[in-house]
Symmetry: C2
Subunit: 331 residues, 2 copies
């Protein structure tokens, strides 16, 4: 099989028996070309399977069908799912992506990135941040094209920002445990100053309140597995009864599972356990799932943010992407 | 701050006091323009910080500075690291990426993808496969631009293919255990028919042979954690002495660690354990590392494959990317 070369406008013109200029006008539906000539040219174009040069189209339209993607750190634990979701969605919609990684907070590189992106005539820009912990400076005003933020806290309230719904994550976990008959539900989580911790707790409390319940206990520590195990020991030592533990993340959840097993408490019969993050979606692969969890759908955050560049919503503000309950054997 | 608009060629021409056509010729170093006029135009361009429209440049040069990326499944366990490595490297080199995911084996979609990529006038194409298990059909002949394959087995020996070096992974693990004084090293791995299993075993045996050793035992099973635990029990029941276990992957390694702990064998004092894949690089985050492992550097596979699109090597064939030994507390 030999290399195929693309059919050119001049080929179409030759087959249709018209000049290249006339062929071009005919294909662009110009009023100066007769209907008969248009039909002849289009028939030739269809027969030859003529597909216009994308570079010429881009140049003529002023649109590059390329989107810029500026990230804080694309390979960071959570950001990478957002980046992957955005890139796949942009690909699905046949947009090319120009990725500038790690350039959000380095001011000089940021300035240079913005210039390069503008030079490339991108059709839109997606900024992927590092979650809530770090406020991303708004750069919307530096572009004439739509700018959207994902997994970020922008310092401008007018920006379109897409984030996971941590409040809803807590609510889903709490409601699931209540609906499965649990009444003494403890919350074991990380630092109380962390925004994700606070939002998850707010949703969790809302679900319990709807059932006339309060948390059996709330223990603040770290995001680590060891803390989950330690918290179970603390709960048991306190003498407080509990029939479920909502864990701030899956790491804490694994620690809780290990500690309960060591104490001979049966999961989920004696104690149900729910985490957040759906780590096992990534690591389970060769292993059976252990944990019920809330998937924050970070890939979905990237996907809808990418969609918002292509079809921007008229108003800015923070949009929350709905998380999903993922059932496992721990509840 | 107001929106900045780009300086135009007409601005440069006006400042230099020449026509737009002359300014264009001067900037393109045309011989028909005098050295004095060129100097005047360039000085004006530099002063105004004129940056040519990328779309116009692309159209003029016939180069889009866009690379196609065709994947089997971008979110698959191992492929995603390759895809991420490629995308970040292409971004670093200011190439946009047009990602078509999941279209390698669906023939009709593949054909359509190839047409779209050709229409977009991509400067090169990267095909990310699904490892060795599945042969990727060569599509090199369908493009006039460089085509490179990563994490794939192409059916054409002329193709440029970048893959992790599984033989070297086994060799590094074996040599590390030998150098740390181990003499009775067992190999616990997956199905003997698996190419990765075979290549890792070949490298492992080579390292042992260099020290005049043979494997203490070789146990074939699955890639799962449970198999690692079961294999330890089998080894102990067999009565065979062992002071180290090279595990086909980290999942097996975690199972081996758990089983050894349950038997009261101290790691690494009694038994050293080495895995493959460096899963903990991804999941460790909040937790201390447990396992020494071999990192196959799949991100690096994506990175060097991306480089090969931009600066293609003159000859095709299979290139192996060197893995790294990652030290942990298990050896």
């Amino acid at each position: 099989m030999t290399t195929q070369r693309a059919v050119r406008l001049s080929d179409v013109a030759a087959v249709a028996g018209v000049s290249k200029a006339t062929a071009s006008k005919a294909l662009n539906d110009s009023p100066v070309v007769s209907a008969a000539t248009k039909a002849k040219v289009r028939e030739a174009a269809a027969r030859l399977d003529f597909r216009p040069n994308a570079l010429a189209l881009s140049f003529a339209s002023g649109r590059s069908r390329t989107v810029g993607l500026l990230t804080h750190r694309a390979t960071a634990t959570f950001s990478r799912a957002v980046v992957m979701g955005a890139i796949l969605e942009l690909g699905r919609r046949e947009r090319a992506v120009l990725v500038f990684d790690g350039r959000i907070h380095a001011h000089r590189e940021m300035t240079e990135s913005i210039r390069t992106l503008r030079d490339r005539r991108i059709d839109g820009l997606l900024v992927v941040g590092a979650g809530f912990g770090r406020v991303t400076p708004s750069i919307t005003h530096q572009f004439e094209v739509p700018v959207t933020y994902a997994f970020a806290a922008s310092d401008s309230p007018d920006d379109s920002v897409f984030v996971p719904d941590n409040e809803q994550a807590g609510y889903l976990a709490g409601r699931h445990l209540v609906e499965s008959g649990r009444r003494r539900i403890a919350y074991v989580t990380a630092d109380a100053a962390d925004l994700a911790v606070q939002r998850r707790e707010a949703g969790f409390r809302r679900a319990l309140e709807e059932a006339g319940l309060e948390p059996a206990a709330t223990l603040y520590g770290s995001w680590r597995q060891e803390w989950g195990a330690e918290a179970v020991d603390l709960l048991v030592e306190s003498g407080r009864a509990f029939d479920a533990v909502f864990c701030g993340n899956d790491h804490i959840g694994f620690g809780v599972l290990d500690a309960l097993a060591a104490l001979g408490r049966v999961v989920p019969d004696d104690v149900a356990v729910v985490g957040v993050d759906n780590w096992e979606e990534i690591i389970v692969d060769q292993n059976p799932r252990r944990l019920t969890t809330i998937d924050l759908d970070l890939t979905g955050v990237g996907r809808v943010a990418a969609d918002n560049i292509i079809d921007p919503t008229p108003f800015g503000g923070e949009r929350f992407v709905t998380p999903n309950l993922v059932l496992g054997p721990s509840s």
